[in-house]
């Protein structure tokens, strides 16, 4: 006999559901308990299981299609079974409301469609808690008497549990108190489960970040040096630069990139990579600039920064950030940096320690520019300060070497005019 698969009620508030995916095609054999489709309610996506075995004769609701709870979504039957009756009846049922009302008004009792049988699909776990109809207590869906102890019936009535959704564990399948209680517990648990963290699958980028950062933090012996930089002059310098030309807008970060490149040129031991039994010192000074994206971050690389002007660096970074956000960067544009700068100053982060991006030997974490009281010649004045933190690979760089690099970098940022020389 052909069996109707209908849209189950997947949540308390669900009124209609969407078929997300059919996992079986028309004509395919289905076993009882097999997941045949995925359906989405207003809350979640659930798997739909077949209760019976047979051939998936007809998919009534295609992928992406919506249907009300209890609506026909597919028909399961024998290989050569004629299911046109069911499909016709279904079309009749899904006719627009006014027409139907008219019809039933005419011949109320005769044209009434038979009660739809028990849904052929179930969503695990069942969460159909609703005030039971009178008939629920007396009969099961197949017309046989539903056996439940008086107490179970009373309890189910009070708690709004549909006895039809329970399996009796008492004598002869009688539904007893513990069945109702177990069911309520299960529903509570599944409600609790809904409040559990949402599972977000890793994007490729997230996956790469997780693996590279784990590799870095577990294999590279990091150490951190923080220095405070007086950026009063730098701010003035930046202002002057931006006022001199209207087509560019230099950021603090652009100036830092340039200053770092010059400092790296002098401190070649920082612009290096650990390579197992030797260290590679790079001639090129290619600086990666960390850019945040919705799904992670990427570090576009400005090549040969030491040879570029601040303006060129600024333009290049701006262009690459734009394309990074559009996900249009090609791999050559975000790989093979020799040093990375990460700046959270715009988020008002005072200072932080970054994780080295291997195979680089160091990374610079840039904090926010802050107005602070400073004492100069026994006078308190308002100064502008910024904190820089260098994370170094101790296998390549020792503390003093890193300190010397930071001292050099600090000097360059604090006296920016030298950069234009």
């Amino acid at each position: 006999m052909a069996i109707k698969m209908t849209m189950p009620k997947l949540s308390d508030t669900m009124e209609e559901g969407t078929i997300i995916k059919w996992l079986k095609k028309e004509g395919e054999a289905i076993k009882a308990g097999q997941v045949v489709a995925e359906a989405e309610s207003d809350k979640a996506t659930m798997e739909l299981e077949a209760f019976d075995e047979g051939i998936l004769k007809k998919i009534v609701v295609p992928e992406g299609g919506k249907v009300g709870v209890g609506g026909l979504i597919a028909v399961i039957g024998e290989e050569d079974e004629d299911i046109s009756d069911i499909l016709e009846a279904n079309e009749e049922d899904t006719k627009p409301e006014p027409e139907k009302t008219k019809e039933t008004n005419k011949t109320e009792t005769e044209s009434k469609a038979p009660e739809p049988p028990k849904p052929a699909v179930a969503a695990p776990p069942p969460t159909t808690v609703s005030p039971p109809a009178k008939t629920d207590i007396k009969t099961a869906s197949d017309g046989t008497r539903l056996k439940a102890s008086p107490l179970a019936k009373k309890l189910a009535g009070e708690k709004g549990v549909n006895l039809r959704s329970l399996q009796g564990s008492g004598t002869g399948g009688r539904i007893i108190r513990r069945d109702v209680i177990n069911f309520l517990d299960k529903v509570q648990n599944s409600e609790a489960a809904e409040k559990e963290p949402v599972k977000v699958n890793l994007t490729t980028m997230r996956d790469v970040i997780s693996r590279r950062m784990t590799l870095s933090k577990t294999t590279i012996p990091h150490f951190y040096l923080t220095t405070e930089v007086d950026v009063r002059k730098t701010a003035e310098f930046r202002k002057a630069l931006n006022e001199s030309q209207s087509d560019i807008k230099i950021s603090f970060n652009d100036i830092i990139v340039k200053a770092v490149s010059l400092a790296l040129k002098k401190h070649k031991n920082i612009n290096a990579s650990f390579a197992g039994d030797h260290i590679l010192q790079h001639d090129r000074i290619d600086i990666g600039v960390a850019v945040t994206l919705d799904e992670g971050l990427i570090t576009p690389v400005v090549r040969n920064c030491d040879q570029k002007s601040i303006g060129d660096i600024s333009k290049e970074i701006r262009s690459m950030v734009k394309r990074a956000k559009e996900r249009k960067l090609v791999p050559e544009e975000y790989t093979k940096a020799t040093f990375t700068i990460s700046n959270l100053g715009m988020y008002n982060i005072e200072e932080f320690s970054a994780i080295i991006n291997p195979p680089e030997a160091a990374i610079l974490a840039v904090g926010a520019v802050k107005k602070v009281p400073v004492i100069e010649e026994d006078q308190i004045s308002i100064g502008q300060r910024m904190k820089l933190t260098l994370s170094s690979d101790h296998r390549v760089i020792d503390g003093v070497a890193a300190a010397l690099f930071m001292r050099d970098l600090k000097k360059r940022i604090e006296n920016p005019m030298a950069m234009v020389l």
């Binding site: 102890s149 008086p150 107490l151 179970a152 019936k153 009373k154 564990s169 008492g170 004598t171 007893i176 108190r177 513990r178």
Partner: protein
């Protein structure tokens, strides 16, 4: 509180009431000079004299009738049956006169009489002397039926029976006369129609009276070892029944085993089960289970007799059925 035997407790009840009310007298076979077949009336003849403690011929119908006549004229007799097996001879007097005269006289004639003696099986007394006749008396309108399970209850209940103006069937047990129990030193009355929770529990209610109270208590101990917390209740008065206590217990436990010594068909347990079904239906999570004596005349052989009388094992099994434990 003193620890005394069941027979001493009953003896005290009669002595105290006879002391209090000179209309009370005791009559029966060997109650006087022999001090009672089971020594329940020990010392009473010596204390109250031969006018108030009267030995009768072996003629149950006769002395039951004499007692009823005495009650009609204002005395308050205690009629002792050596066992209730012999009361069968006196049933015409009990059913047709004791039970009905107050009704048929429009309330003009009261019959304040207590028929007491041991009921049920004792030990290898044969089919004719090992019968539990509780349902017989319970079935007749106009009779109060009481059946104590402890010395304390025996004394308090017998005193209540002796103060009531209606005929009371007071069923004791040969097997329990030697049972000891604590009995209050001060006077107390256990009113007719009041049961008692003998053991508090929450998982299942076991109902038993007389000897079966102790079978239920033993079953409760066995169930406790399996983690089942049984409540044991004793209605004490079989008619009128303490329905409230029974229903309250069922509302708590949702399950019940009624245990009675008598035969299954139309037993007191059947009546109790019906009332639970009627009044606590929505609280039942399983059908009420019944354990009764087997539906045969009592075998004489000891091993068979043991099988016929309900034991704790049967009660435990019934409790497990009601708890859906295989």
């Amino acid at each position: 509180m003193a620890e005394i035997t069941f027979r001493e407790a009953l003896n005290q009840a009669m002595a105290e009431e006879m002391e209090r009310d000179e209309n009370i007298f005791l009559m029966g076979e060997e109650v006087g000079y022999y001090q009672g077949a089971y020594k329940v009336s020990q010392g009473l003849m010596e204390r109250f004299g031969t006018k108030r403690v009267i030995d009768t011929p072996i003629a149950e119908l006769g002395f039951a009738g004499v007692g009823i006549g005495a009650a009609m004229t204002g005395l308050r007799p205690i009629i002792e049956f050596m066992t209730f097996n012999f009361s069968i001879l006196a049933l015409d007097q009990i059913f047709n006169n004791a039970a009905k005269l107050r009704y048929m006289s429009g309330g003009q004639i009261k019959v304040p009489i207590v028929f007491r003696g041991p009921g049920g099986a004792a030990h290898m007394l044969g089919a004719q002397h090992s019968q539990c006749l509780d349902p017989w008396f319970c079935n007749v309108p106009g009779l109060i039926v009481m059946s104590p399970g402890t010395p304390r209850d025996g004394k308090g209940m017998l005193k209540a029976a002796l103060r009531d103006d209606n005929p009371v069937i007071f069923i004791e047990s040969e097997a329990m006369y030697g049972m000891k129990g604590e009995v209050p030193d001060t006077e107390y009355i256990i009113p007719i129609g009041t049961g008692e929770i003998k053991r508090e529990g929450k998982d299942i209610t076991l109902i038993g009276w007389n000897k079966m109270l102790h079978v239920c208590m033993e079953a409760a101990s066995l169930l406790e070892k399996e983690g089942i917390d049984a409540e044991v209740i004793d209605p004490r008065t079989l008619k009128p029944l303490d329905e409230q206590m029974i229903i309250t217990s069922i509302e708590k436990t949702n399950r019940c085993v009624v245990v009675e010594e008598g035969w299954p068909y139309a037993g007191v347990g059947a009546e109790i089960a019906f009332r639970i079904n009627k009044m606590a239906f929505d609280y039942l999570d399983a059908p009420v289970e019944r354990i009764s004596g087997e539906d045969i005349p009592m075998p004489y052989a000891h091993n068979l007799e043991k099988e016929v009388i309900p034991g704790a094992g049967k009660v435990v099994n019934a409790a497990k059925r009601a708890l859906y434990i295989d």
